[in-house]
Amino acid sequence: MNVIKTIDELNAIKAAAAEVVNVRVEGKDSGVKDVLVCGGTGCTSSGSMNIIKKLEEEIERNGLKDKVNIIKTGCFGLCALGPIMIVYPEGTFYSKMEVDHIPEIVESHLKDGVPVKKYLYAETVEGDTIKSLNDTAFYAKQHRVALRNCGLISPEHIEEYIARDGYQALHKVLTSMSQDDVINCLLASGLRGRGGAGFPTGRKWQFAKASQNEQKYVCCNADEGDPGAFMDRSVLEGDPHSVIEAMAIAGYAIGANQGYIYVRAEYPIAVERLEIAIKQAEEAGMLGDNIFGTGFKFHLGLRLGAGAFVCGEETALMTSIEGNRGEPRCRPPFPAVKGLFGKPTILNNVETYANVAQIILKGPEWFAAMGTEKSKGTKVFALGGKIHNTGLVEVPMGTTLRTVIEEIGGGIPNGKKFKAAQTGGPSGGCIPPQHLDIPIDYDNLIAIGSMMGSGGLIVMDEDNCMVDIAKFFLEFTVDESCGKCTPCRIGTKRMYEILTKITEGKATMEDLDKLEKLCYYIKDNALCGLGQTAPNPVLSTLRYFKDEYIAHVKDKKCPAGVCKSLLAYKIDPDKCKGCSLCAKKCPVGAISGELRNPFTIDTNKCIKCGVCASNCKFGAISKS
């Protein structure tokens, strides 16, 4: 691509590319079909690259090369249904694709125009009518801003991004807005950091702009480390240019000409797409020394994280880019004053950046019209755990958890009862059923003892033990503590040990009290935000599920039947037929009896592996 110097040149590319993209966006029938195959991590893991290969072969074999475009996109969101394929202009949605389905789909659908119903996502088929993906429950309630291009464009072609108004905002900023205009626009939009803490983005930029220094930096936090969260990865995989454009805008606003994206090395696809996107942006002159001929200079480098959760903390991320152990440092000084390499620095997360260009183009009022009073816009959540539709959803702030879980997420499988939703990852908390109707925003979540976090939303049902869950998160924190400050290094370890005692039925009520005190102590005393929020999973479960803790401590029982030490397997003599299968399957020889008489389990020998129960044909073995 040639260097784009003027808005006319940009618009020319836009117009040409729009022809292509509109097949998908507007369902325009131009006699060509676009076949979109998800190339996100989830679908790639379930084999979407083989699907693409087979598609290419079949299309070639059927002589459809000029009639069908295959486009590898980023994540569509419905990861549980992967690999996913959508055929435009009609927008039909094939789920759980298998290579063997391809020949039939190509011949029937792509050649003859007859979709193969049996392979379509069941919810999109109602008798004879086939619904578009956008009309399914999963998508209908969503509102896509940050994810607007994900699953729609090819992330490896800058033209497709340009077709979707890409780099228009950068042009607007560079040619018609002052630095303060940009910052004021963001302030007015009410955009808050999507990384978790919710600090107003405009204010952050304002501070960095006010710091006098010839060298400043713009950083992007793509070190998405919360277990169960993959929003940022999906944006990077599906729409990398939206982040690049926003970072250039940020550079202009604060007076920086160098940016770094710190991305997890565990995200190879995101890294590859970012590399391609940066290269294309450089070739197109959207990054470089003289962007749009305005003299504005902005360069972007990639830095790979190396597997340390703490590097999601802003000061730790910067020390890591500097080539050190990723240990946080005390603030003040804040990064806006003294950040990367000691220079004024802003750090925003991927999803935050993904909103910026649209705020510039559509105006702050448009953005501020979405959401609640103090939390504007939308939020992307990664739905996971005990829920039908695992995947990525974007909803306006203020949507209730119930809507997200029951309507969009399709509720809880196997007829189980909802117990809690965990948001905010290891820094967040568990939200009990009584708070399902609270509108999701930063402040509400904090008020009920959790936090927005980066957007992981894990659903738990009655089979999950809340003490076990708290212990799981604590184990994560202990593993990922950097070890610099005493409260986090030793305090979380001791908390974990107390939790272990509880799950083993060895704890006393004094231990429970000690645990709670440690929680508050660590909140007050840890050096960084991660340490300070580390006790949240314990505090929130103590708050809403204290009975469960007490059951472990006093009654030595795990009500959910998860904590192995507190379980006992029992054979119901009335149901047992004495077939001996359980005794044969038991790995430790804990079951004995006479054939055709009820068997018994020696609880001293039993290791509670559950093999007996899962093999019993008569449902005679239960745990309590």
Binding site: A308, R325, R329, C330, P332, V478, D479, E480, S481, C482, G483, K484, C485, T486, P487, R489, I490, G491, K493, R494, E497, K514, K517, L518, Y521, K523, D524, N525, A526, L527, Q532
Partner: protein, 579 residues
Amino acid sequence: MVNIKINGVDYSVPEGSTILEAARTAGIKIPTLCYLKDINAIGACRICVVEVKGARSLVASCVYPVNEGMEVFTNTPKVIESRKTTLELILSNHKKECLSCVRSGSCELQELCNEYGVEENRFEGENPAVELDDSAMHMTRDNSKCILCRRCVAACGVTQGIGVIGANERGFATQIASPFDMGLADTACVSCGQCIVACPTGALTEKDDTQKVLDAIADPDKFVVVQAAPAVRASLGEAFDLPVGTNVEGKMIAAMRRLGFDKVFDTNFSADLTIMEEAHEFLDRVQNGGTLPMITSCSPGWIRYCENYFPEFIPNLSTCKSPQQMFGAVVKTYYAQKLGKNPEDIVSVSVMPCTAKKYEINRDDQSAAGIPDLDITITTRELSRLIKKTGIMFNDLPDEECDSPLGTGTGAAVIFGATGGVMEAALRTAVWKLTGEKADSPIEFKDVRGVEGIKEATYNVGGKEVKVAVASGLANAKALLKKVKAGEADYHFIEIMACPGGCVNGGGQIILPASVKNFTDIRAERAKVLYDIDSANKMRCSHENPDVKAVYDEFFGEPNSHKAHEVLHTSYKAQKLYR
């Protein structure tokens, strides 16, 4: 100045100061563990937390800057309880053998635990298995007592620019250690002991050789002589609650005599001897085109650093042994002859402000009489321990003088203990020599005095410009050598001491808590002791030392003679250890 409130009282404090510093000016001591001024402001231990009105959590006062209108509370129940819990957590991961720990009584953790009335075993749990590192000749590292304050890491990495220890692994598994957990002996550790004096607990300690001393004294067949380095007298008193900067020369001598040494001598004697050799070596290099700049060789930490990190400067090193080793060599040759004793029957002991001396006595080419020049070296701390153990009431001792003939030193010798001292002492004699041995030759060279890390001066000596430089602390030495290497400086003579401030701040000196060191420059206080002794001495120049004159007359002939070379000089070789 900014106006702040501490515990409800208004104060005006300097802008840019931390809460810790501001509170100190207001007469409030906030406890610290990890904080060391200038080199370790990391806010990691969380002992110094205070409440600041409006702040979400407690803040670390050691790094938190004051600002106008700030309201600080240093002693609320929350603060006290937090500090107590922090201590209790540290204790849950600490080998509590406080009754016998060498740092009992000078342990900063112990003092705080006592002040806060901690519950010693409130938290119990798993502790990482740690191995003792006693591979090095000079020290032992016991991570079971380490509190991960990282003061040692800063001392090694920042002050000394070496960094053979650091934080490894992460989280609860974090340990301060050398790469790949290798022993210190496998690393290019220079044995300076700055990590030991930085350590708040008993995790880092010198190898204790006091029993060897007691055994030697108790052995009727051994003639035990002792020398004490100049800097020892400037610090020893601190172990007996005397103020920093107290000269205890006389009591120190008296104490050593009461310990039962057969002869109590003074390293000042051999410091003068060193000057005679070194000044002549310098003049010889200048006049006969030898390698310049010449660099001093008194500091074994520096020698080890040079051999490991800057072997290209080995030809620049003075071949003079250090004063300690010269003393040992003279004792086992000249003095043994004089006594008519077999040198094997003499046990030569030194008291040094230095841990690297424990390494130095084992170096090659340090055995003038065919046996090691020196047998035992103990630090100032070990001497204080011996004095306490033997029940000597130090503060009640009379002031005594050293034995003869190796007990005399000039003012030039005693300032060896401070950075710039060797340079000044050498200049006194070199200038005197070069300008015709006049009685009014200049004595004080104040440009090279003071605690700054790098000092430079140019003197006109007998019509010739002599450019000198002085560096103390190896990070400073590194910077200076890089300059020389790059051709950006053309010095004739360089003095380098491994420890910042010189021997007065050596790794073997009495350990003062950070609460003192952060607010008092102990280097300057201790150095002042030495400069006061110097200016009070009638003899200010090494060439005036009668014992030194005698040793040349009776034994060596003249400085740099063949015999002097055999006994008083040594050699160096490049080392390749893990850096």
